[in-house]
């Protein structure tokens, strides 16, 4: 059996790192031969998850974000974790257009976008301890595209 290929990184919860995180994950996922559309979807969900940890998890406080990425068969499993304030009502934040911080001009679409772009989506959160998002996305590349590897 092939060993599982995984990647983990820890970075400061600063908005400068949003682009870094999505580009790093996209580069790691490239080995699955995703389409441009799938790659854009992956970059978007990473961006949404990391932005949530920065804005809502840590607010204006300093903290670290832990990102784990694993290739399981033809799927990519992503875990984004913070040790921030946590989410009181998980069902509420999943509602489209919901935002806990309307003063920031948020669209309230972050969770809706994440749910639409992946195949599995779970939230685990404990108030004052942190939040962990787990996302799984299957890469639906036609088999013929991978037949000519050398």
């Amino acid at each position: 059996m092939k060993a599982t290929n995984s990647m983990s990184m820890t970075f400061s919860a600063l908005s400068e790192n949003e682009a870094f995180a999505r580009v790093a994950v996209a580069a790691f996922v490239a080995q699955l031969n995703p389409t441009m559309e799938e790659l854009t979807e992956i970059k978007t969900v990473v961006s949404e998850a990391v932005t949530n940890s920065i804005i809502h998890g840590y607010g204006e406080k300093y903290g670290d974000i832990y990102l784990h990425c694993k290739i399981v068969g033809d799927s990519i499993e992503l875990v984004v974790e913070d040790h921030g304030v946590g989410i009181g009502d998980v069902e509420m934040v999943r509602q489209p257009l919901y935002t806990s911080r309307p003063e920031l001009e948020r669209s309230g679409m972050g969770f809706t976008i994440m749910e639409s772009f992946v195949d599995e989506f779970d939230i685990e959160s404990v108030v004052d301890r942190g939040t962990m998002l787990r996302l799984v996305k299957r890469i639906r590349t036609p088999q013929s595209a991978t037949h000519h590897e050398v």
Partner: protein
Amino acid sequence: MKVQIETLNRGSMMIATLHGELDHHAADNVRGTLDREIEATRTKCLLLDLRGVTFMDSSGLGVILGRYKKMQALPGEMVITSLSKSVERLFEMSGLHKIMNIYKDRETAIQALKEVAK
């Protein structure tokens, strides 16, 4: 990565073209620049050209929705043009395409904005 904003004043109309990745990190700068230009030119018609936007997420939607509300409050008008396929999908997913006027190309958008401004 900074979003570059080019603004062009055409009569009472302001055309703002965005280039770059419109995420939460870029949002403050885009909001600040557009609001300053809107106030300085006192324009009532804003055309947002997204042809150079190579990445966007819900933070970008938030900034665009915010500028739309600001223009409506003046009262003024804002239209959007030149969305990439992935940006267009975000607008559809969020329902914003039903609220805002979106045009395929700049010329159509300019004509439409002239009509509503009459």
